[in-house]
């Protein structure tokens, strides 16, 4: 009823159809994508770690140091293979998806690190110290990551924990959001552009980090 009436009114107002003759404005390109993403992600309060430069074990270790976490909950098991993490891990299935591994004893890192890929509950997610997932794209211009809910994944594990970690491949970096949206098509039920940790300035325009979502937000850049 309302639908018909609203649409009828709107149709009666419509002029003749004309595509707007205007070109999409250009967005900045041609910068060092990695450097810019790192700088702008950190300007937004995030932590940037380069696994290519420092090695995956080291940046994982630093992640644990900086978040104070001893466990990482993964949203989707494919991260293990994609980022070649499992060569130091035991078979996930052997421990009911509870994975334990130790790094070289000479490193100044207190391990073992426990990785959970098992199903977590909502109440559980609030108590998770550190969760991790894949960023499907990184936007250099604003220091932004694209997080997409995919099959086997959910929405809450990236938002409820105290700290959240993204894995990003260098090849998934783009200069600006326009590049991203010229090719991206939505597939899951929710995608989120994430730029740093949860924040507010609702009281006297004073910045506070970690309102409802993670207080710390990290990205590990890999090959």
């Amino acid at each position: 009823m309302s639908r018909t009436q609203i649409l009828q009114r709107l149709r009666s107002l419509a002029g003749t159809w004309e595509e707007p003759e205007i070109a999409l404005p250009e967005a900045p390109t041609g910068t060092d994508r990695v450097a810019q993403l790192a700088a702008r992600w950190e300007a937004a309060g995030g932590i940037f770690l380069d696994a290519e430069r420092h090695g995956l074990e080291n940046v994982l270790a630093e992640t644990l140091e900086r978040t104070g976490a001893r466990e990482i909950f993964w949203e989707h098991p494919d991260i293990f293979s994609r980022f070649q993490i499992p060569h130091r891990l035991r078979d996930p299935l052997a421990f009911e998806n509870r994975l334990v591994f130790s790094l070289h004893p000479q490193r100044e890192v207190r391990f073992p690190l426990v990785l959970h890929a098992k199903r977590w509950t909502r109440a559980h997610a609030s108590a998770v110290p550190l969760s991790a997932c894949l960023a499907t794209h990184g936007v250099a211009e604003t220091g932004t990551l694209l997080h997409e809910v995919r099959s086997g994944q959910g929405r809450l594990l990236s938002i409820l924990p105290e700290a959240h970690l993204f894995f990003l491949s260098r090849g998934d970096l783009v200069d600006n959001a326009q590049q991203l949206f010229s090719t991206w098509t939505p597939c899951g039920s929710l995608a989120t552009l994430v730029t740093g940790p949860s924040r507010t300035a609702d009281i006297e325009k004073t910045l506070v980090v970690g309102v409802h979502g993670p207080r710390q937000c990290l990205v590990i850049l890999t090959e």
Binding site: S2, A14, I159, F181, T192
Partner: protein
Amino acid sequence: MNWKRSPKTLRDQSRTALQDSQLQHNLQHTLSRTLHSRQLAVAEVQNWEELRHYARTVKLHTLSHLARYLEQLEAAVQQRGGQVIWAESARQATDFILDLAHRRDFRSVVKGKSMLGEEIGLNAALERWLEVVETDLGEYIVQLAGQQPSHLVAPALHLSRGQIGELFERKLDVSVGEDVERITAAARQVLRRKFLSAHLGITGVNFGVAETGTLVVVENEGNIRLSLSAPRVHVAIMGIEKVIPRLADLPVFLKLLIRSATGQRMTSYVNLVQGGRGPGERDGPSEFFLVLVDNGRSRILADAHLRETLACIRCGACQNICPVFQSIGGHAYGSTYQGPIGSILTPQLVGLQGAPEHPFASSLCGACRDICPVGIRIPDLLLELRHRIQREKGARAARLPVERWAFQIWSWLMSSRQRYELFSRWSRRLARWTAGDRLGRLSRVIPPLSRWNRERRLPELAPKSFRELHRASGEGGS
């Protein structure tokens, strides 16, 4: 229409606001910081004017083909399993949500900040049956205080940390003092429980992308992400003017909105909602509804002079820059939408008689038009509305003989150079007298001039006119 007109007039409320030194401090402090951040963020974008022009063109194009784009949006949302509800009025929108809650036996709602929600009086309608919790920190503060938001983007702008700390201690029985971190942590703790137990999540929509059915919701806190992730059902409410054609347009609008609103390059989260939980996904709402709300918008659209009001993307920049808003804050307007955009939108939503003072609450300085990311010609629309209000007042105003005589005398003076020069010479002299101490003070007390002079000082006029100076310098004739 939820808009409750305060028994006090805008003029009365402005006077009260001007005398409230705490409010004056809060406004000055927060607005100047917001404007400063915006300035830095905008200066970084080399083609800002081009972006504004693009956004304005796309918005006006979309508004003139709204039926087509809304149908496209509806089809795309439905294709992904979402349900689309059309509401002509505020009542229809709130009734649908209430009815849904009844049918599902829902008891609790978490809400993301939505100006449309304020406009349609959603909280008042739901609170009779359900527990409704605002989850944006500013909105939560305002809800605890039993007030309305006083700004499009920063709802608790009018309150200081001291006032908010006191409110939290009184309402939540926590000890937070004036510490912003502790206030925020207390809110996080309370609201976390609400998110996880709520049955229904309600959010607004910043942009609805017709091409893909993507509903874009911009935020910093994560409360919207939680509101549309944790509850069983997600309802998004969207004004019909919020549709944009393509995903490719989105980056332009995001850049304009975010930099204008908060001075950030990007907010912490921009949610691109495609519906409820998809196949194989672990969590998320099992049902998704999009409520498209007209509530007077198609009527505004029918008015060729005023329709660009609906191009607004609710960034709040016009409020931040407006000298009137800077002086009186949002509550003095007594309406959902305040400041320059509120002054043109409110009379159109509630009728000229419902907000007869709004179009006059402006000095017409034009700062709002200059700062508007979609270039809405707010001063022109204010003048148009003033004109209509005067016309509606009708013959009574036109018949005032004083006004007619004044204009007759004015046109008589202006139509001869000698008369004009004589008049300007005498008025300069008169102005010097009245600016002087004794007469100046008298003119602030004795009506009718006192009403004007009480709050204003005439600028000192030069003793000689440009023409006289030019003649005296002897550099050529006239």
